[in-house]
């Protein structure tokens, strides 16, 4: 053991000897428990805040005081806080426990003393009473020492208000805490903002100060505004705001004489604490309807823009892409926008930064996201669209915004280093490459033609459509004619007479060359009679030259033709029966005559 160590141990021992005897005495005398209500009168649909403070000098471990029985109220624990104070070298600890009392019935109820046992001794607090009236009790009353100082709740009060009771998650709720005072304060008021569990908060500077007249009394108002963004749906409570201020001690002054003026100048006054009622908001969840698949948060009203710092780069030359989201809302919570697939680039994520601003009490600002794009391939590349999805509470709908496309032309650099690993998709993977730019124009020539040409409505096409109909109609007429031919013998004979005559004329021509004169004459005679019989639908057998003469007359054939016809028949008959001898004309001449007669008859009949 060194000399130094022994010395320091002695010093510590001496110090302990001086402190220790004093400590127990302090602990035993200075334990105090105090209860306070935020107001002494509440409405049946309101709540009162009960604070129990236990403090002791030099005593760090303090038990939670036992509350008196309060059967008329529902009690909710609202947390505790520890304070440490050093006064005149004495360390004192105090622990504040806060409870929220919800009345079950109307009436005036005593609140008996709370108690705690410290170091084997039982300590008790003061007692209070709370009046519960039907409905609303109106503005806050000043608790605790206020009554003693003669300051009423009309002189000094605190009000907390929210602009929305039913906001969406992450929608701004503006909390205004207004400190009204109609009396002079002796010190700067000390403001403790309300507890806001479940909210993300942001102050809205500056404080506003103005005068307001309520019930004929002028108040000086200090208004502090805070933007609150609920982080989860459900009921959230904004705790009480608290202002402590020193006010002139009027109750004492009333008993004084004219020298009170000096008191005013030198008095310390009384500390008065005023609190506001807690405010509950019911936070709505964001609707599921219409929620885009890519939605990942962001509530407010925003705009998105994007810019690149260069438009013309070489392969592997970095391009900075900055995406800016501006607008109103909880800009801090805006998620990163969805970048499009940028296959031609290596994308490095850079910093994201935000600036908060407020415009007309609405929080907002700019959040920027930086990216570094390193082109891997030469050619023209289009970057975008970059999509921002957000929920607009004023429209109660999800919005989706896109940035305008940006064009970047990438040149093949002269010095392409080998360091960059070429872009090769892993084999075996499905390639789902999304386009990065529009495709190039068509350069292979074109077939330009007149505008407004629609085949379906062009008159020629419609004309063309009638052709098959005409064909069908024609076919039907054709078939019907054939059927009539086969059914109507007379019509058939009439139509066939010429053909038969031609056939027989051909046969006659053959006989002319032969020696059978009788057959030749018979053929000529038969042919003419057959022809006429066919034409007039008569029997060829019963046809005499007289009958032929009659028929031709009826048909008003020319006389010469009639003469010729009869003449031919007579000559043929004569030749047949006379065996050709003594014929007036030769066979050749007769044949010629028959032909002319047939032609003549065909033209006439």
């Amino acid at each position: 053991m060194s000399i130094g160590r022994i010395y320091s141990a002695l010093v510590i021992a001496a110090l302990l000897a001086t402190i220790l005897p004093a400590a127990p005495a302090v602990a035993q005398t200075d334990v105090s428990i105090r209860m306070a209500l935020d107001r002494s009168r509440i409405g049946s649909n309101e709540t009162a805040v009960l604070t129990v403070a236990i403090s002791a000098a030099g005593q760090k471990q303090l038990p939670e005081p036992k509350l008196p029985p309060l059967p008329q109220f529902d009690i909710m624990t609202a947390g505790s806080s520890t304070n440490l104070q050093i006064i005149n070298g004495q360390v004192s600890y105090s622990q504040n426990y806060t409870y929220i009392l919800t009345p079950k019935q109307v009436g005036t109820f005593p609140i008996y003393a709370a108690s705690a046992v410290v170091n084997g001794t039982r300590y008790e607090s003061n007692t209070l009473s709370l009046e519960v009236v039907k409905g609303s009790a109106g503005s806050q009353t000043i608790p605790g020492g206020a009554a003693e100082s003669g300051v009423s709740s009309k002189d000094l009060f605190l009000r907390a208000e929210v602009d929305k009771r039913n906001p969406y998650v992450d929608e701004q709720v503006t909390l205004s805490v207004k400190f009204f005072r109609a009396i002079k304060l002796l010190s700067n008021p000390d403001y403790v903002p309300p507890q806001t569990p479940g909210f993300w908060t942001s102050d809205i500077p500056p404080q506003k100060q103005y005068y307001q007249t309520i019930d004929g009394r002028d108040y000086f108002v200090v208004e502090v505004r805070t933007a609150l963004f609920p982080t989860a749906p459900g009921k959230l409570t904004i705790g009480e705001a608290r202002v402590t201020a020193a006010v002139p001690d009027r109750s004492r002054r009333r008993n004084r004489d004219a020298f009170g003026l000096f008191d005013d100048m030198f008095q310390q006054g009384t500390n008065v604490e005023v609190t506001s009622s807690p405010v509950t908001v019911d936070v709505r969840p964001l609707p599921a309807e219409g929620k885009p698949a890519e939605f990942s948060g962001g509530v407010g009203d925003y705009k998105i823009s994007a810019a690149i710092d260069k438009n013309d780069v070489e392969v592997n030359e970095a391009v900075n892409l900055s995406v800016k989201v501006t607008g109103q809302g909880n800009i801090k919570s805006i998620p990163e926008p969805t970048l499009p697939v940028l296959d031609g680039f290596r994308v490095e994520k850079g910093a994201s930064d935000f600036k908060i601003s407020n415009l007309d009490n609405q929080m907002g600002g700019v959040k920027s996201f930086e990216y570094v794009l390193i082109p891997r391939q030469s050619g023209r590349q289009t970057i975008g669209p970059i999509t921002l999805n957000y929920f607009d509470p004023s429209k109660r709908a999800y919005q989706s915004l896109n940035t305008a496309p940006m064009t970047l032309s990438v040149r093949q650099g002269e010095l392409t280093t080998g360091a960059e690993i070429p872009y090769n998709p892993v084999s075996g993977q499905t390639l789902d490459l999304k386009a990065t730019d529009i495709r190039f124009i068509k350069t292979g020539g074109t077939h330009l033609y007149r505008k407004g040409r629609v085949l379906l409505t062009s008159p020629l096409f419609i004309t063309f459509l009638t052709l098959p109909l005409l064909a069908i109609a024609g076919g039907m007429i054709d078939v019907r004619r054939r059927r009539r031919l086969s059914e109507d013998v007379g019509y058939a004979r009439l139509r066939r007479a010429n053909a038969v005559a031609k056939k027989r004329l051909k046969k006659a021509a053959e006989l002319l060359a032969g020696n059978d004169d009788a057959a030749f004459y018979a053929e000529i005679s038969g042919m003419v009679l057959q022809y006429i019989a066919d034409k007039f639908n008569q029997s060829a057998q019963g046809l005499t030259t007289d009958r032929v003469d009659e028929l031709l007359k009826e048909a008003s054939a020319p006389d010469s033709l009639r003469e010729d016809t009869l003449n031919v028949v007579r000559l043929a008959d004569f030749g047949r029966f006379a065996g050709g001898a003594g014929a007036e004309v030769t066979k050749e001449m007769l044949f010629e005559k028959v032909r002319n007669v047939i032609i003549g008859l065909e033209e006439t009949l």
Partner: protein, 252 residues
């Protein structure tokens, strides 16, 4: 036979009517536009292409290239307009489809289209796959075959056709004829348009004094119901209706 000869003449006249009247004189302008485009002079490319359109000639390639040039100059609405026209003339061209889809990704307004049944989806795909003239040709061909079958089977009885064949022919013809009619209604008789201005208000009535319904941005497409005092009454795909000033949009 004179009837046969008349038929041949008619068919030839028809072919002449259908075969496009070539605007060969403008091939040079098209090439000029392409050269401008390749050198990055998109504004002059647009002028060159537009000149051909103004002269009354068009083609799917012309609309496509014009769409590209408009896209490059940031005229999203017009790009979508011309790509859509190109697609009407050549519905199966992949480049046109790709660029139209790509350009539409930049449109600010996203309209949720109501869910379609599978049958309707197939019908729509059929309509999107063929141009009006193609469907017309299909119907015309089936019409000719049906007429020939009727002539051969029922009238002249040259050969026997099984009944299902005739039923099939007739029903296919009726189907394609209906399709042609619907396509005509969609492409020609139904007027559609696209927003050209960066943004324009959709109003509750035909006039500036009417209240705004919402803001439409470049590239938003709609069908036109009627027009009144410089405004179109338009329908959007999600069945929303509104009045939109004519100067901010173009008819497709």
């Amino acid at each position: 036979m004179s009837r046969g000869r008349m038929m041949i003449v008619l068919v030839l006249m028809l072919m002449a009517a259908i075969s496009p009247v070539r605007g060969g004189a403008f091939d040079g302008d098209f090439e000029k536009g392409n050269t401008f485009y390749s050198t990055g002079d998109y504004a002059n490319a647009i002028t060159a292409y537009q000149g051909i359109l103004n002269a009354g000639y068009h083609s799917s390639e012309l609309y496509y290239n014009l769409g590209d040039a408009c896209f490059r100059t940031g005229q999203l609405g017009r790009a979508i307009l011309y790509y859509t026209r190109a697609k009407q003339l050549d519905p199966r061209d992949e480049d046109i489809q790709a660029n139209l889809a790509f350009a539409r990704r930049f449109a600010i307004d996203k309209i949720e289209i109501t869910e379609e049944t599978i049958l309707l989806e197939y019908v729509n795909r059929f309509f999107d796959t063929f141009s009006l003239n193609e469907i017309t040709w299909m119907a015309a061909l089936l019409y000719l075959l049906t007429a020939a079958a009727i002539l051969a089977h029922y009238i002249y009885r040259w050969f026997y056709l099984p009944k299902p064949v005739i039923v099939l022919l007739v029903s296919l013809f009726v189907l394609t004829a209906v399709f042609a009619g619907v396509k005509l209604d969609r492409d020609v008789l139904t007027r559609s348009g696209v927003v050209l201005d960066q943004q324009t208000e959709v109003k509750n009535g035909p006039g500036d004094d009417f209240t705004n319904q919402f803001t439409a941005h470049a590239g938003l497409m709609f069908t036109i119901e009627r027009e009144e005092s410089g405004y179109y009454l338009v329908d959007f795909e999600n069945r929303l209706k509104g009045w939109i000033v004519k100067s901010a949009v173009a008819e497709i």
